[in-house]
Assembly symmetry: C2
Homo-oligomer: 102 residues x 2
């Protein structure tokens, strides 16, 4: 299984409610059955006591394989990325990983 993570650094604006209820709904509607599940993380802290989280939010999408992700997501990527300014002024870093343990 692969995890595709959209990783957001702290920004002047980040609407977690919109991210969960509108953006992720758009993503899951568009990619359809290829999406095994999704999760959303809200950053709360860093390692040192009292330190801020390095990332304000991380969205995780799970697929069987990179080709399945590419096929399902690619055709909708422009529409999905165009929705990002509706909840944040940050640009996500996109990480595609193979889950090798867990």
């Amino acid at each position: 299984m692969i995890r595709v993570s959209a990783i957001y650094r702290p920004a002047t604006k980040f609407d977690h409610d919109y991210y969960v209820n509108s953006h992720m709904k758009l993503v899951s509607d568009r990619v359809g059955d290829a999406l095994i599940k999704f999760e959303v993380d809200k950053g709360v802290a860093g390692a040192a006591p009292g330190s801020p989280a390095p990332f304000i939010a991380i969205g995780h999408l799970y697929f069987n394989s990179v080709p399945e992700f590419a096929q399902a997501f690619g055709q909708h990527a422009a529409e999905i990325m165009a929705d990002v300014p509706n909840f944040t002024d940050a640009q996500p870093e996109i990480q595609i990983s193979e889950i090798i343990a867990g």
Copy 2:
């Protein structure tokens, strides 16, 4: 539920086998029953075709709450962090997140 992620940028050295089979075993042995599960991601790609993954590896630890994590991990943090040079010359960024969807 919270997710504690150790996020590793590309480094000159990263031994994924050691990370999964020795380091994560050390972590799970030390934190004990407070650890719900762990997962390990191996970076394979970025968003643009042919681009490298922004992160070489990400380890995820799941706990019920930040206090449970702090109590279970804190007393072993020095020992666990001292093991990091055995598999990489990178220093992880530590992200503590609340899982708000998924």
